[in-house]
Amino acid sequence: MTGMPLLSLAIWVPIIGGLLVLATGSDRNAPMARSLALVTAVIGFFVTIPLYTGFDNTTSAMQFVELARWIPAFNVHYYLGVDGLSMLFVILNSFITVIVVVAGWEVIKTKVAQYMAAFLIMSGLLNGIFSALDGLLFYVFFEASLIPLYLIIGVWGGANRVYAAFKFFLYTLAGSLLMLVALIYLFMQSGSFNILDWHELPIGMSAQTLLFWAFLIAFAVKVPMWPVHTWLPDAHVEAPTGGSVVLAAIALKLGAYGFLRFTLPIVPDASQAMAPMMIVLSLIAVVYIGFVALVQADMKKLVAYSSIAHMGFVTLGFFIFNPLGVEGALVQMISHGFVSGAMFLCIGVLYDRMHSRQIADYGGVVNTMPKFAAFFMLFAMANAGLPGTSGFVGEFMVALGAVQYNFWVAFAAATTLILGAAYTLWMYKRVVFGAIGNEEVAKLEDINGREFAFLAILAICTLIMGIYPLPITEVMHASVNDLLQHVATSKL
């Protein structure tokens, strides 16, 4: 298998499959579009598995490298490769794509082919982002991935979808355009777009500071960090379930991944200098956004705010510069991919039946949907960071790392365990427990086999990661240590 261009397959199988799905045309062929999409997604997932089984844990070097000239005029290469920081995200993304295709199976009734194609194409583009080692290639995938998500929110979204789609697109574009200038600047300095070359490129402090800001704006919008987070609740609320899942599980990770691939190793001195600011911003996200989540009346909005709070934990883990923090943040990212995806799927299950996301419209769901309530319980607990679930591992590691850095930072961060439990479980209580809220709840039917399947798979992932996280963390060690080495080495 080593001879296969696995990363190219991970990128292009979904894209080409997506174009084929598109070719099935109108909704008369919807069953064919669905099956074709599922087959593509499953193949796309299977080609990423050898990335894990064939991965060498002992090295921080890039693996599964593919290198070809693309645009010699700008010295741009089609340069792919993964290390311990990125490999898991390629697999996670391909996995989530399967879930999303299954989740949209019966729910999406109009323009089925376009819906499935949009998700498949986006999946390929996202894999491209995580495996690109050429700055421009990264940027191209980064920008191009906006198009499918824009369409997904705008075409299949809720009432206020146009506003949300525009806000999502323009916010992210605003950030990334400045990054483009930064990338071109780095190209002029180094003569290539190779990210690994940039890791070694000496840069003066003032240039580093400007680059840091350019990257920060791009990635902070994507993470999203307070105060540029306001697009996320809108996008989540209006997006269809599948869109929310991909957005939460994968798209939010892009910003955080950008910090690891670009900001920390390319401008280490500026990163060190700006770390206090980043930590403060992260803590604001954790604490303040936690309180904001508490008062939400809309379930999707609540989970969206909880995502921002969780991502605050991730950025906190990065900028305390110790192995525990960075690894914890990475684990948190993966775990959040499963848990937030599952939370949105659960809300989607309710929404498909009741067409409401308002907490007040529910109550006593457990009486009519016991199986669903059990799954929802597990994911709510994981979202709150209960030990034994994946949510706990990352938060605990970051908190430990933060204690090494500064006790009070850790103290503030740890409030998330209280706040997270408060907003998640309170929502869970109001929706699921109590007397049956109204007649519609009384008529609810429990989850069907298809819904059971994808929730069960996610539940298993959440539990395994919570109980035995070693397979996840062991692939990261070498790369994380190498990254921290880079951060500790001054480039001045």
Binding site: I71, Y150, V155, V162, F166, L170, V181, I184, Y185
Partner: protein, 497 residues
């Protein structure tokens, strides 16, 4: 008297097109009404043969002939081929549209042919006189084309406006040329360049420098009008809007290539040693175009006007490429910068052809699909053409993987190389504003319900060609290298002459 027969061979393409247009002119007089389509066929054949002649005589040599009036170089050849392609495409797109509205007369095709000849003369001019003749030939044909739908008050008004402002601009240009002639004693561009270079060494007084600068200002103003950049942009939205769409298709595409060539010939070829002066002027105009073009486009509800304003901003980007060539007398970035500008011009023409082609496609007898709202729900009516239009819009917005992104990238890259990072930042911020109105078109097509549910009637040729045009936007975005190489090669070969 000593009469030397000049070498006509390098100018074979122009001579062929000129001869053929006269032949067609004569033939159509005697043609019966029923044989009307013959004019179209002969025009297309002429253009195709002209393309072939250019391609087969193309080499890297630079030949100056016809008493210094004419230069045959690779840049000119490449641009001539592209101009022919562009006009051929525009005529195919516009054919059904013109037929529905009853102005597919032989004049229509002939004027297109004459305008093509004008553009060819412009791109190969090595002399103020030939440049001016080419320009006027192009402009006068276009004025007439705009007014071709003579029962339409809007077209007539647009033609009038275009003519008056265009004549004024030509006057400015001519006045500038006369001053440069006064200061240098030369009309040939290479002669002017030589004279300015010599004068820079032994400067003969302030007066001729003042005259030269005056001339430069007028020339740049005339040029700016033809490119349609701020503050000489007023005509662009009105003419694009007022002209029949099949004519807008011709105004908004190939002439931009000719205008780029004119800028290269005049500013880089003739007035290169004044670069620091014209670069400042271009910078002001570029910034103005980017800001005004993008902001004004947001307010438009008419698609043609929106594309006109977006065209202004695209021309601003093109100028950014031109002005980033020489910094502090250092030429190292010049080739890179002019390549980026040429690449941008070509990319713009490809996108612009497709965008106006789409309007033509969606229009039908008695109905102009020129409002943004007319695209509502296009995805439901034809998901294929909605996808094609989406490609055009995202490409114009500069979103990868489309050619528009790489065009912007190459300009930004040359700006950063010239230490003009602030201009690059301004340009990307304006692209962000631009993204809004392109996104709105996509929104209308995909998120809204159709108002007009009529199926799309169009001939097979326009359907196929338009699809190919849009796919080319995507394909060139995946593999832009060849086009960049072509631009660079053309400019290198031309500079060496």
């Amino acid at each position: 008297m000593n009469f030397v027969v000049p070498d006509f061979a390098p100018a074979a393409t122009e001579l062929f097109v000129a001869g053929m247009s006269l032949v067609i002119l004569l033939l159509t007089v005697f043609m019966r009404e029923s044989a009307r389509h013959l004019g179209y066929v002969m025009t297309q054949l002429t253009l195709i043969v002209a393309t072939l002649i250019t391609i087969f005589t193309m080499d890297g040599q630079v030949r100056v002939t016809l008493s210094d009036m004419y230069v045959d170089d690779l840049m000119g050849d490449v641009l001539k081929v592209l101009i022919c392609f562009s006009v051929i495409t525009a005529l195919i797109y516009g054919r059904g549209y013109a037929a529905d509205r009853g102005f597919d007369k032989p004049e229509y095709h002939l004027l297109a042919l004459f305008s093509t000849l004008g553009m060819m003369v412009m791109v190969t001019a090595n002399h103020f006189l030939s440049l001016y003749i080419g320009l006027e030939m192009l402009s006068l044909s276009l004025y007439a084309l705009v007014a071709l739908d003579r029962d339409s008050a809007r077209s007539t008004e647009a033609a009038m406006k275009y003519f008056i402002l265009g004549a004024l601009a030509s006057g400015l240009l001519l006045y500038g040329m006369s001053m440069v002639y006064g200061a240098t004693g030369n009309l040939s561009l290479s002669g002017v360049a030589q004279a300015i270079y010599n004068q820079a060494a032994v400067y003969d007084g302030v007066s001729s420098k003042t005259v030269l600068m005056f001339g430069l200002v007028f020339i740049v103003a005339g040029l700016a009008f033809k490119l349609g950049v701020v503050p000489f942009h007023m005509w662009v939205p009105d003419v694009y809007h007022g002209a029949p769409t099949s004519v807008t298709l011709m105004i908004g595409t190939a002439p931009k290539l000719a205008a780029f060539a004119m800028a290269m010939r005049l500013l880089v070829g003739g007035l290169f040693d004044l670069a620091e002066h014209w670069q400042t002027m271009l910078m002001l105009m570029a910034v103005g175009s980017l800001v005004l073009g993008n902001i004004a486009a947001i307010a438009q509800t008419n698609l043609k006007r929106m594309l006109a304003y977006s065209g202004i901003s695209h021309m601003g980007f093109l100028l950014l490429g031109l002005l980033s060539g020489v910094v502090d007398g250092d030429h190292f970035n010049a080739l890179n910068a002019y390549t980026s500008s040429m690449f941008y011009a070509i990319a713009y023409v490809v996108m612009s052809l497709a965008s106006f082609g789409m309007i033509v496609l969606l229009s039908r007898a008695g109905f102009e699909a020129e409002n943004i709202d007319d695209l509502k729900g296009l995805n439901k009516r034809s998901s294929w053409f909605a996808a094609m239009m989406m490609i055009i819009m995202f490409s114009m917005a500069g979103i990868p993987f489309f050619i528009g992104f790489f065009a912007k990238l190459s300009v930004l890259q040359s700006l950063v190389a010239a230490d003009m990072v602030w201009l690059a930042v301004l340009a990307v911020m304006m692209s962000l504003i631009g993204a809004f109105y392109y996104l709105r078109v996509v929104k209308v097509m995909y998120f809204d319900e159709p108002v007009d549910t009529a199926p799309i009637h169009a001939a097979a040729d326009i359907r196929v060609l338009l699809s190919a045009n849009c796919l080319a936007i995507a394909f060139l975005g995946l593999l832009p290298q060849q086009l960049i190489d072509l631009c660079q090669l053309a400019l290198v070969a031309s500079f060496q002459g």
